[in-house]
């Protein structure tokens, strides 16, 4: 039996507005309506509790602007990377 229960709601999503170009790919590929566009087409996360961590948005983002964070995974502060230069 390969019916592992899908875990929802434990993931966090970071959107880096400095890099995002509002192309809408992440919103279009999200299978669970986690993401929704705001007035300027930047992604918002109204359905965060439905996120299963499939990372389709992260993989389809051409601009390194969205990130799914599973509990316990290592994350770097991107702002500090930008300003370190």
């Amino acid at each position: 039996m390969m019916t592992d229960e899908i875990t929802r709601g434990i993931f966090e999503i970071n959107v880096y507005r400095d890099f995002c170009k509002a192309c809408g790919l992440c919103v279009a590929w999200c299978p669970n309506d986690v993401l929704a566009p705001d007035a300027e087409d930047y992604p918002l996360t109204p359905g965060l509790d439905q996120c299963t961590g499939c990372k389709l948005c992260e993989w389809h983002c051409p601009d390194f602007a969205i990130e799914i964070i599973a509990p316990g995974s290592e994350v770097v502060d991107v702002d500090s990377l930008v300003h370190a230069q």
Binding site: N14, Y16, D18, F19, C20, K21, A22, C23, G24, L25, A28, K55, E58, W59, H60, C61, P62, D63, F64, A65, I66, E67, I69, S73, E74, V75, V76, D77, V78, L81, V82, Q85
Partner: protein, 296 residues
């Protein structure tokens, strides 16, 4: 496991150059991400990897990665990569080219890099059009494809990179689209491993120029179409039928009977998208180094 975006940015990307100059939704960013993931999966140090790129939208890619990078003249990326590989046979050389860069302006260099079997990973990003210069028709614009220089639809037969690679006996050829990201990572990973001339054609989207003139001005539509329009062909081989990835708009189909190199073995059960992989071939740079050692 895939690398988190912020770790990718820290480890492999020149963050100060972001955001990229590419249009919103351009597949080149997805390809860049996939290449970086593949390098990470291989566990290569940044100093062991170099990226050579030509001119065009694709040529910008070498500016964003934190490897050894060369941004070369138009179409001459394989030539520069050949020199690099001869001097440093153990370096992983990633050559990134666009369709016009690789097949039109630099066609001769690509051909001879394939003929010599230089151990590089050549990634040809095929978006059917010259994107940077304003949407002129490129060697891969399909028949009927509207571009700035073919307003009534292209009447030329498009070039088939697969046929070229077959004729020149490139040891590894694979094809993916920017929609098949996981598969693309696997292909690049595998191409790095084979250590001979590995050619990957990546079908990308230019919705701003090509898509707008051909009825799908949206990146989402165009990438979604890649999922629906790609189909398995080659009915002669039932087992391979579901494996190779072909695109309906890529023009002339070729038979499976064109090439049969007796010494090399075709590997059918490769990952999805690998059209052929002749294992056991030896690239020129290592052969040259061995020869030079024997002379000394």
């Amino acid at each position: 496991m895939t690398l988190q975006t912020s770790l990718t940015l820290r480890d492999y990307i020149r963050v100060e150059r972001l955001p990229t100059t590419w249009c919103a939704g351009c597949g080149l960013g997805i390809i860049l991400n996939c290449i970086v993931q593949a390098v990470d999966h291989r566990g290569l140090e940044k100093d062991e990897v170099s990226m050579v790129s030509g001119i065009g939208c694709t040529g910008r890619m070498s500016g964003y990665v934190d490897f050894n990078t060369i941004h070369t003249t138009h179409g001459r990326a394989p030539a520069f990569a050949t020199g690099l590989k001869m001097a440093q046979p153990d370096m992983t050389v990633l050559t990134v080219m666009g369709d016009g860069d690789a097949m039109s302006i630099g066609g001769n260099h690509l051909v001879h890099a394939m003929r010599r079997n230089i151990g590089m990973v050549a990634i040809v990003v095929n978006n059917n059009v010259y994107g940077l210069t304003g949407g002129q028709s490129s060697p891969t614009t399909p028949i009927g494809g509207v571009s700035t220089t073919s307003k009534a639809g292209s009447i030329e037969r498009p070039m088939d990179l697969e046929a070229l690679a077959r004729t020149l006996r490139a040891p590894f050829f694979a094809r993916a689209t920017v929609n098949h990201t996981a598969s693309l990572v696997k292909l690049v990973e595998r191409a790095i491993e084979v250590d001979c001339f590995a050619l990957i054609e990546v079908i990308s989207n230019c919705h701003i120029l090509y898509g707008r003139m051909n009825g799908s001005p949206d990146a989402v539509d165009m990438i979604a179409a890649m999922d629906s329009e790609t189909r398995p062909t080659n009915p002669a081989l039932e087992r391979r039928k579901r494996l190779p990835l072909r695109v309906t708009s890529s023009g002339t189909k070729i038979g499976a009977d064109i090439v049969d190199s007796g010494d090399a073995q075709m590997e059918d059960l490769a990952g999805r998208g690998v059209i052929w992989d002749r294992t056991g071939s030896d690239d020129l740079s290592h052969r040259y180094r061995d020869w030079a050692k024997r002379q000394a």
